[in-house]
Symmetry: C2
Subunit: 239 residues, 2 copies
């Protein structure tokens, strides 16, 4: 089998396990309507998400000490508001804190829980996400994601795709890198993990970015496994 | 109710959730017999455990950088062997590494899984143990402990009972200390947690140290909850 010797599957989460765009848009819609803003809530979700990687890059580059994602999301939210004609000073902090928790309340793709439940019987399963622990904990409890543990950026204090984020995760698991497989819907994440010696599984999520998505529609390298969803992944792995 | 406002229950594990002494003795018995040593395996477990707190004290005092418990257990094992007439140089490292994993294979007390399952429906539940992540992960997967996340010393890089171990855990949970309750069978652990503002729940485990146990047989302070086991705890908390 493609994953001979693998003991743990670690998962990218935003886009791979959960549909962040619909979830954020759902809560943004209420927020925008409450402030009389006539704007596409999906555009709001996209604008907020666009600031995600640059914010982490400040940490990855060493220009800023490690800071958990909830804090970065909250800072980014302040900068998104003017783009939608909102004055941050006129919105209460409590309301923005609440909207920031939209990231804690994302729904899984329809196959995620069923696939993870099967995979858990055969492998250790854990998120390896840039989300901080309580974000992932809240999301997982609400969505009933059956993780064995919550790993990720806050545990190893390093953001993907730095090598430290993968290598320290293998170290926490007391495994060699080739005993760990990253499952992700993003070719770039898999490429970085493979460089560190991880096994790789690509799961296509063709609507992560909406109906007109142009990226990550197919495997761009010979990943160890390519699956159409988590149920297919479980079947391919005999789980 | 005693725990009004509490959102998360965090648990001491060795002694409180699992019976470390019987589990370690079970594997030590095989090991000792394999080396022709006629010794009480419970005495071996006690001798190994006796080195636990002094080893962590090296880290707590700042004399040694943080090191995960698996490493401390393994070092301590080397120093226990001569006490039982064994020459560490005559035992293979692989065999000692395997015996060290006895701590990953401890059985829960009979009420632990049933009680945790009920408590999980009402609270976030997570270990706050000095065990490292993969130790807790292996133990929990084998014993089906239904944690929402694995917290503890390795996540916060601090050993109990330092204030940092409790306060950083509350910070990871994005909660005020009084929103977190420590559940433990040890009065000293609860006292340290209360000093940090945590709520406290004492569960008596009268045979953690065997049939002649003399410590922690009763609550030594007015803890917020006192329960006779995890099922009783769940009932008292309406879970």
């Amino acid at each position: 089998m493609a994953l001979n010797g693998v003991k743990a599957l670690v998962f990218d989460v935003f886009g791979t396990v959960v549909d962040w765009r619909s979830g954020v848009a759902r809560e943004a819609a209420q927020f925008l309507a409450g402030h009389g803003v006539d704007a596409d809530p999906f555009a709001f979700a996209d604008a907020w998400r666009r600031r995600y990687s640059p914010a982490m890059e400040e940490v990855r580059s060493g220009r800023r000490p490690f800071e958990r994602l909830d804090v970065l999301h909250r800072e980014n939210l302040d900068t998104v508001l003017p783009e939608f004609g909102l004055d941050a000073a006129k919105v209460t902090a409590a309301e923005l804190d609440e909207l920031n928790l939209a990231w804690h309340r994302l729904d899984p793709w329809p196959d995620s829980v069923a696939g993870l439940t099967r995979l858990k019987a055969r492998y250790i399963i854990a998120p390896l996400s840039n989300a901080n622990i309580v974000l992932m904990l809240d999301m997982s409890k609400r969505a009933q994601l059956p993780w064995d543990a919550i790993l990720g950026a806050e545990v190893v204090r390093a953001y993907k795709p730095t090598p430290e984020s993968y290598l320290r995760t293998a170290e926490v698991l007391a495994m060699r890198p080739e005993e760990v497989c990253l499952v992700a819907a993003h070719n770039s994440d898999l490429a970085a993990a493979r460089t560190c010696g991880f096994k790789t599984a690509f799961v296509v999520r063709p609507t992560e970015h909406g109906p007109r998505q142009t990226t990550d529609l197919e495997a761009q390298a010979a990943w160890d496994v390519v699956a159409k969803d988590f149920v297919d992944l479980a079947t391919q792995l005999g789980a």
